[in-house]
Subunit: 324 residues, 2 copies
């Protein structure tokens, strides 16, 4: 799947993923009215409104970008009804040729991570059949439980030729609280610039980044691994350091646009080959019609506003990469 | 809800939570046959088998324990069909008077954590209605993203008088990989036993434990907070240290039984008042009939074996607490 992602990035010229993170406040009134008329002001009605919204956006942008990233929390807030629409959205995007990164941030002890891996990337045995649950192409994974909590995801990725993005340095303001903790570890014997037995101080996210490189070494595509990383656009300096620590990991970069990240901040997340990163924008694309730059489209034409926002983002990133 | 949990622990004399983590290999053949006869060897058939299994266990143990902890991954592996049974299980347990701890380990940036908090503990506004998704009483939360990723869960807990258990030190073998990292931080000015400006080294899980105490101070029940912690039974020494760092946090203790934790390892997780901890066993209870100690019950009477295993666990923990 990492091959397919790279191929589609090269074909579209857009290292961009559209975050399908719908909230009801983004959904135009006419769609909400239509959904509630059919299903009432219920979880089912809300889920239908979200589906109508997603479908129109997907139809408007699928030829411009390689991938989408539905954030499962935005569906889970509507319970099982919402998750039905998550599933429907994943399937529809794949039908349109888009790669689907399920932003699920799952992670647990080994046997439990295995169940998540099966449900989102793999297949489960029922009697003599093998059945698929959500069936995304990639998912995001939380590393707090350590290697044995991540290993089952990697195992399923190898079987299915799919991939994961491990949270390394997240885009939110308080991500540094634990992720930036300066850690002491003993320098490896014979390490360059360090006496054997001396201490090295480095932030936790770098230690996680090293693990990502290590996990990924064992499941390589051609130039890049099945094991990627999440590093927020809001932390460009850390992105620069992590790019070197994990040269063969694709970096999924959230935080562009609404969260404050700009094209120029992103150049160091890419390798010299112009690859190695894919930048996400959610609100900035799907709720573009609510922003002054795109309000001329009007609520009825929200999906055209989303298309225009994707084109602008594509230019911003291409310019930044051309001028680095 | 923390009041209700304590009240029920005192009433049952059992600081025990039964982990409803069903896997198909635990489900007796006669239940699988029945479910597949009706729905085929499909996700729906698997989900029905799990439901039949859960219901019989719940009916056999609901009067003995205060709480259950369904692990959502075990349902999510069967996609939406599995999550329907998760929802049904939560509702049925509440109907039987059990407190439900959803073991979901969610955690994300602020706006996304809010959606998870709403879906699992709160209610979502749809038009003029407020609707509930999964509606557990407590959930588990992953802290890797820091305070702003945890805050929305606490906000909803305050509104709903519910609670969370934050992952501090997990029970799995590689939990130490990141959680035990020795961190450097500058000692607070005037701190006892430390010069102002000097450094203090401590493991990451202690820093997370301190945050749990800090977050919890703001939402206290009587003696205990709405914000609890997860600390694995497999790490008794760390549990002892964390008990002191977070005296008012209830500790959810996984890892008893199948993962290797014993009653005697658990005493330091409790406070002097005999409260402050609740010990989980999953496989050891729900798949008791597959263990030599309970095989005399036979597959048909699996739920009676589970009841016997709960009684044995209750005695083991009561003995350990009496002899500490």
């Amino acid at each position: 799947m990492i091959h397919k992602l790279i191929e589609k990035i090269q074909k579209t010229g857009a290292p961009i993923v559209v975050g399908l993170d719908p909230m009801l406040k983004y959904v135009p009134q006419h769609l909400q009215r239509k959904a509630y008329a059919e299903y009432g002001e219920t979880l089912q009605g809300a889920a239908e409104a979200i589906w109508l919204f997603n479908k129109e956006i997907i139809d408007a942008i699928y030829d411009l970008v390689p991938a989408v990233k539905p954030q499962i929390a935005m569906y889970e807030q509507f319970g099982v009804e919402g998750l039905l629409v998550f599933q429907k959205t994943v399937a529809y995007c794949k039908e349109k040729g888009l790669i689907v990164i399920g932003d699920v941030k799952r992670g647990d002890i080994g046997s439990t991570s295995e169940a998540y891996a099966i449900g989102h990337l793999g297949k489960v045995q029922v009697g003599n059949n093998f059945c698929r649950g959500f069936d995304e192409d990639f998912i995001t994974v939380n590393p707090y439980l350590g290697s044995d909590g991540v290993a089952p995801f990697i195992k399923v990725c190898k079987e299915e030729k799919k991939g994961i993005f491990v949270l390394v340095k997240t885009s939110n303001p308080s991500s540094g609280e634990f992720q930036d903790c300066m850690m002491r570890s003993r320098a490896a014997a014979g390490a360059v610039g360090a006496d054997s037995g001396s201490f090295v101080d480095r932030p936790l996210y770098e230690a996680v980044g090293e693990k990502v490189a290590e996990w990924g070494a064992d499941c390589m595509g051609d130039a890049y691994s099945y094991v990627g990383a999440v590093v927020g656009a809001t932390y460009p300096e850390q992105g620069k350091a992590l790019r070197k620590i994990m040269p063969k990991a694709f970096i999924l970069v959230p935080g562009y646009g609404a969260q404050g990240g700009k094209g120029a901040d992103l150049v160091h997340f890419f390798n010299e080959d112009g690859l190695g990163a894919i930048v996400n924008s959610s609100r900035g694309i799907i709720a573009a019609y609510q922003q002054s730059a795109y309000e001329k489209y009007g609520e009825e034409h929200f999906a055209e506003a989303s298309r225009a926002a994707v084109i602008a983002m594509k230019e911003d990133i291409a310019d930044a990469l051309a001028n680095r």
